[in-house]
Symmetry: C2
């Protein structure tokens, strides 16, 4: 299950450098981190809420969700992690998993031992700042997510999820024209938008009927972005942060 594959670390470096400027020396320090990769099958949850954490998880391929569940077993997806995301970033500073992690599709993960990560963070303060900044960016997405499930209609929530994922896939360059691949079933979409699978299906079909988008075989085709953005009340600012405090 574990293989040595340090080459993939540059994928996370790219992500980090997107938001925080790093010197050549700092980049080398990150690439020199120990790491290993592993594969998880679709549907398997590999971290449970409250677990002790001793390594950071970076998504290399596939789609991962952070989730929580209530006592009665209903599951809510709190965040989606795509290629390049450190899925448990909010957890690593607490040494305890804040939420569970589940593979929504088949995924490959990259694992970085926490002691090594913290050692680098202390040796290179600006790397610590970069990780902290990435965590803050995640928190901003998190907050938009909470706002989404709180005050909006099912249609608006679903539209918002498509907008967010479309925008994030665009940033990573994996959007194909007006569409993108979203490796989720309708049931998972329902867990992410906090509505019933049945009602999600109806809502999705209503977006289809209005000619706004279509989703077949886990491929989202958006025909009318302006209409989708309007339905979602989507403001992409929370996703795009300039390089901040680059002193």
């Amino acid at each position: 299950m574990l293989t040595n594959d340090t080459r993939t670390l540059d994928r996370y470096l790219t992500r980090l450098a997107l938001r925080s400027p790093l010197t050549q020396e700092e980049r080398q320090a990150i690439l020199a981190l120990p790491s290993s990769s592993s594969k998880k099958a679709a549907g398997s949850s590999f971290v449970a809420s409250g677990d002790e954490i001793d390594h950071a998880c970076v998504v290399l391929t596939g789609l991962v969700s952070s989730f929580k569940q209530t006592r009665d077993g209903t599951r809510q997806i709190m965040a989606l992690h795509i290629c390049g995301d450190m899925a448990d970033l909010p957890s690593i500073m607490l040494a305890e998993a804040v939420s569970g992690l589940e593979a929504l599709s088949d995924v490959t993960m990259l694992h970085i031992p926490l002691p090594a990560l913290f050692a680098v963070s202390e040796a290179y303060p600006r790397i610590a700042l970069a990780l902290w900044r990435d965590g803050a960016a995640d928190a901003a997405i998190q907050m938009a997510w909470a706002n989404n499930v709180g005050r909006k209609s099912a249609r608006s929530r679903l539209a918002h999820l498509f907008c967010e994922m479309g925008a994030r896939y665009e940033q990573t360059g994996s959007r194909v024209g007006l569409g993108f691949e979203l490796l989720m079933t309708q049931e998972q979409l329902a867990d992410a938008t906090a509505i019933t699978p049945v009602h999600l299906n109806r809502t999705l079909m209503s977006l289809r009927a209005d000619g706004i988008l279509d989703m077949r075989n886990k491929l989202v085709q958006v025909f009318d972005w302006p209409a989708l953005i309007k339905a979602a009340d989507f403001d992409p600012r929370y996703l795009s942060f300039r390089l901040a405090n680059a002193h």
Copy 2:
């Protein structure tokens, strides 16, 4: 509006030291930070979502909320900040306000210029880690909040809010017996639980009728904590983190 009052910095130091061990030298560095304090009247919002940020805001007295609003004007409270909290912690690394800030009661705030804060963070890496850790703890609360408004009934949501605030006030030692002061109107409670003021009132009265708690004159009296915790499906673990990674 601005006064020099460095003495109050120790309040934030206390908070920080609660989660992260700090040496005497690091403590001195924090206490030496420049700062100023100001008062805000109840109901005034003093930071808008998207604003540029050049200082950090610590709550000294009163209650502050992070909020977002949708295009149609409905407001959602995303987080509550009590004495000792850095209200815009998720924002400072992005140099842009992730949410608005509003004074729910009369409040006094402490302001710390960001350049000074970052200078100290770079000079003392463990201070950066401490701030990062506090941000992560906030993110955990944030996630529980999102889970709360997503999948639960109005009664459960409201109960959860009382549980969280009760537990947080207990940590700061400002809980009086079975009750605590919660400086919010029913309308604000409605914004925090993402339900209608009318329905919030009915939900609150139902908790009253069941003998679980009472709230009068902004004073919450809990008669039956076990029942409240059960109604909320409350798991306090997300609020209490051990001192982590104290290498």
